[in-house]
């Protein structure tokens, strides 16, 4: 199982999903209408590194974070 966490203002509890790569995760997450808006503007971290390739494989125990637009300071 892959754990997915939604950071900052995305008001959603972490979920666990059974997916083999980010493409599969994308399909799962886009079923949630409220999440779609956030996915449009959010970056994706796998095991705390930002990834930019949809083919990134995911294995059991991997952690994905969804990072909405940031504003520190």
């Amino acid at each position: 199982m892959v754990k997915v966490e939604f950071l900052g203002p995305i008001q959603k509890e972490p979920i666990e999903v059974d997916v083999k790569n980010l493409k599969e995760l994308k399909e799962v997450l886009n079923k949630d209408e409220e999440l779609k808006e956030w996915l449009r503007v959010s970056a994706v971290g796998v095991n705390d590194k930002i990834v930019t390739n949809l083919d990134t494989p995911l294995k059991d125990g991997d952690r994905v974070v969804i990072l909405p637009p940031v504003c520190g300071g």
Binding site: P9, L22, I50, L67
Partner: protein
């Protein structure tokens, strides 16, 4: 490692410690202190941060050959007049100090995994208008 404080940062105490600890060998210290300003009827700001990636982001600034950079940030509520962000750059000469402090703060604003909320009547409202979309965003867009 980024220093993290619940609520406002004790600015002077932290600056005092950094100044004593790091000034040897450097000719210039340039701090940047972000102060929560009264604006649009807010009572303050509030912050979420994701520490593992914040520390990861900070690593490339922590080990510069010609500068020492230190930073502190708040999580949770920070009232008007308090400080939520504090950093300082130590360099031999002022020229690289001015360059680094600006580059560092701009990179911080654009890339540090921190989320800001306005505090209005006790409610936390995401500061969407001031938020920056990260590089690579939209990867999971349908």
């Amino acid at each position: 490692m980024v220093e993290i404080y619940k609520g406002g940062i004790p600015v002077i105490e932290v600056l005092d410690r950094w100044y004593s600890e790091f000034k040897d060998g450097y000719g210039a210290m340039i701090p940047f202190i972000g102060i929560v300003r009264r604006d649009k009827g807010i009572d303050g700001l509030s912050f979420d941060l994701y520490l593992p990636m914040l520390n990861e982001w900070f690593k490339k600034w922590e080990n510069l050959p010609d500068a020492k950079i230190v930073m502190a940030h708040s999580f949770g509520d920070v009232r008007v007049g308090e400080s939520s962000f504090l950093c300082a750059v130590f360099t031999k000469h002022r020229e690289e100090g001015f360059r680094y402090i600006k580059e560092f703060v701009e990179d911080f604003k654009a890339n540090a995994p921190i989320w800001k909320y306005d505090l209005v009547n006790g409610k936390r409202i995401f500061a969407k208008d001031r938020a920056k979309i990260l590089k690579g965003a939209g990867l999971l867009e349908d």
